[in-house]
């Protein structure tokens, strides 16, 4: 009896501490999990909702577009220019040296089919919609588009040539489903 009593006195405080530490650790870990478990849905709930995501791609019938004509379609709330380029426009785009471009991109890299130029029609400067789609619109000095807000000029490949815009008009993700149907996004 007398032998075992001091031993158990020694053993208990240390066992106590480890058990207490474990409890605190476990509670802390679960508390962190709970905090993340609460925060995660709160963050995710602000993501685009299912109906918005459903409209994240749109199919466009391009069969009616004449040579040299541009149409504008709405995609993800923004205008998308689809231009059926003439041969002169294609050649003009190909003739440009990459050194002359502030945002250097070759025309070949910006189109899947030479005839069809598909761009997001939002100026990369401050977001206005460049002119050049309708007959009579100014097209700027390079035959493409002209942004009236601060004077950016885009060429026949939609690349920035003169003006405050830093980048070329973006090319969205798209896919030709067949000869008359293109899916954007």
């Amino acid at each position: 009896m007398a032998d075992t009593a001091p031993e158990s006195d020694q053993a208990r405080p240390q066992g106590e501490e480890t058990r207490r530490d474990f409890l605190i650790l476990a509670a802390g870990a679960m508390g962190t999990m709970a905090a993340i478990g609460v925060a995660w849905p709160l963050i995710e709930t602000m993501n685009p909702s299912a109906d918005v995501l459903a409209l994240s791609s749109t199919e466009v019938d391009i069969s009616g577009i004449e040579l040299g004509q541009t149409i504008t379609v709405k995609w993800r709330g923004k205008p998308v220019f689809i231009r059926r380029r003439t041969q002169e426009e294609i050649d003009a785009a190909r003739a440009v040296s990459l050194d002359d471009l502030s945002d250097a991109e070759s025309d070949e890299a910006r189109v899947q089919k030479d005839e069809w130029l598909i761009l997001v029609g939002v100026c990369t400067h401050l977001g206005c919609i460049p002119l050049g789609n309708k007959i009579g619109d100014p097209r700027g000095d390079f035959g493409g588009w002209f942004c009236p807000c601060h004077g950016s000029h885009y060429d026949t490949s939609g690349r920035i040539r003169v003006g405050p815009a830093p980048n070329n008009l973006p090319v969205p993700e798209y896919e030709f489903l067949d000869d008359t149907l293109v899916r954007i996004g």
Binding site: A27, M30, G37, A54
Partner: protein, 256 residues
């Protein structure tokens, strides 16, 4: 103290019974309990029932009832893939426009479109249905007390002939479960009303069961993930609370 707590619990039970009881009004019978796969704590939808129910809806109900809150893309939950959904949508036309002439036009439906309603507006719906309005069915199960059992009972609760001494108004049908016992909707389902694509025998009970499950899904498409998440949440909270309680006891034991 304990007896008083029990008294509170008993009264609470009374109150809940008072609130939750289905008021079967005007002689209508209360819907009996039917067996459902998805109503339990671990309940899930049977994809077969959902698809059959969808077929019943398309072929029978959709001629008069709209399903405004369901888009074709939602059918992925029923077990259709993107291609099948595109094909289903292509069977329908929806209004779009105005076009460049300022005219509205009809076009083939896409996955992102919602189910087109059979009538342009409630007035047109009433005109085609003897003055009665076929309600939208998207949330009908939640919009009726004991909705799931009620719908099944309603669909199987018609009588060809009303009982003796019952005055059935012109154009109405007798139903055991509808308030007032007369309903403007003629019996929509009967044996073999639909030929199931999966070959299941289309008895009246089967048709009513399947379309009820389909409508339970349209009312609560989040049901499966809700119950799954609930289980994880409850288990987590239970363990966490037990842990905190143990810590609480130890912290308080330190007093004296």
């Amino acid at each position: 103290m304990r007896t008083q707590l029990f008294a509170i619990a008993a009264i609470l039970g009374l109150v809940f019974a008072g609130i939750g009881s289905a008021f079967a009004s005007g002689g209508a019978k209360e819907a009996p309990d039917h067996e459902w796969q998805h109503t339990g704590v671990f309940g899930t939808f049977d994809r077969g029932e959902l698809q059959r129910g969808f077929q019943v809806f398309q072929e029978v109900c959709a001629s008069c009832h709209s399903l405004d809150f369901i888009a074709f893309r939602n059918l992925v939950d029923i077990g259709f893939d993107a291609e099948q959904i595109k094909a289903i949508a292509a069977e329908y036309e929806v209004e779009d426009g105005p076009d460049d002439e300022g005219e509205m036009f009809m076009r083939t439906a896409k996955a992102s479109d919602y189910f087109p309603a059979p009538f342009a507006n409630p007035q047109a719906a009433r005109a085609s249905n003897g003055g009665a309005f076929p309600p939208d069915l998207s949330v009908i199960i939640k919009a009726r007390d004991n909705g799931l059992n009620y719908l099944y009972a309603l669909l199987t609760g018609y009588e060809e002939e009303p009982p003796e001494h019952f005055e059935l108004a012109e154009g109405m049908s007798f139903n055991h479960y509808f308030a007032g016992n007369q309903i403007a909707m003629p019996e929509p389902l009967y044996e073999e009303a639909v030929e199931y694509a999966d070959g299941t025998e289309p008895t009246l009970e089967q048709l009513a069961h399947d379309v009820s499950v389909f409508l339970a899904w349209t009312a609560e498409p989040e049901l499966e993930i809700r119950k799954k998440t609930g289980l994880k949440v409850l288990i987590f909270i239970a363990i966490f609370t037990a842990l905190i309680y143990i810590i609480k006891r130890r912290v308080w034991a330190k007093l004296h």
